[in-house]
Symmetry: C2
Subunit: 201 residues, 2 copies
């Protein structure tokens, strides 16, 4: 027994968090132990608040603390473009570009037969329903450039074309070399995609 | 604004923790958000419990939830040897070896003029006081092999010899090549120490 019991319990709880190994868990526990009463109170409150107040936006399925999320309610957003992402964190990554001004739809995952995730488990029915109310003209599919992400994109593109024909433009974010990348260090799959997605200049 | 407010607050609090950058903070926050009510409750309780129940052992200054820590009270411990460490985490590292069976003394830091830490700010007076009650015969100084750690070790060794003469043996943990290390990758300072601490075989 290296730690006093409450300390061992905290280290154990922290170790369950993603990306936190035994060493980091110990460091975090010692930090919390040394932090002021107010600091640890703020952390505890923040965790509790998130669990109490955050829910899913019923329109786009992003996290929100309101009835409808800020993006869906924002009148300055371009309501003719819809960006489809797998997870809320992907939406955050998109927002950080400060480039995209349309709306979003969070699928809640990707189709993955290996993990037992079929299309019916994603928010696809809800996606189709949005076309009835909104004046959507283009759908940008921004799932990850992975096997599952690409398969989900293909499935969605097919489904959208089958349902709405040519009324709606469906696009996929580009695959290629990351900016600042090095050809010499790029993996084969990325280079093959970069060739395939090449554009005349 | 990428996150709903309570989520942004949690990400902010998590970012203040050591070794947690913006990316990890986001990942942890999303994990907590997805975790069950019971899981997050356990984490919150563990943090609160640690702040309420953990204090310092008045003998060795390790963390404990009892009046005196488990190690100090353990009758199976060899009370003739005292291992001096800088921080509770160093004590944990020592305990994990399962080799050391003596007692400990946690200084609460090392002498560091750069950070304004003088000897009077460490538990050195309390260390000297322990020799009155306990039958200590050897002190192993296990501060880190850094400039401050070595300087603190020198200071303590001098002080102990001046105060108790040759009644008490004072030793320092060895400096040298880490087990499984590679000479080719070892830094110069380590190699110099490994040479200096060499032992006839």
């Amino acid at each position: 027994m290296y730690y006093a019991k409450p300390l061992a319990k905290l280290v154990g709880e922290l170790e369950k968090l993603p990306g936190i190994g035994p060493k980091s868990a110990q460091r975090l526990a010692f930090h919390i132990l040394r932090s002021s009463e107010e600091e640890s109170r703020r952390l505890v409150d923040a965790i509790a608040d998130v669990k109490t107040h955050i829910k899913m936006c019923p329109v786009c399925f992003n996290f929100t603390d309101k009835d409808t999320c800020d993006i869906c309610r924002d009148p300055k957003r371009d309501r003719s473009i819809l960006c489809v992402v797998a997870e809320p964190r992907d939406l955050v990554a998109m927002e950080k570009t400060n480039e995209y001004k349309g709306l979003y739809h969070v699928l809640g995952g990707v189709i993955s037969p290996m993990d037992g995730v079929g299309p019916e488990m994603l928010k696809i029915r809800e996606l189709l329903a949005r076309f009835k109310q909104d004046e959507i003209k283009e759908v940008i599919i921004a799932t990850n450039p992975t096997i599952e992400g690409d398969a989900t994109a293909m499935y969605l593109a097919d489904l959208l074309k089958k349902t709405f024909g040519t009324d709606i433009k469906v696009s996929r974010i580009a695959h290629g070399m990351p900016v600042g990348g090095d050809l010499d260090y790029a993996d084969q799959a990325t280079l093959i995609q970069a060739l395939e997605w090449r554009r005349e200049m």
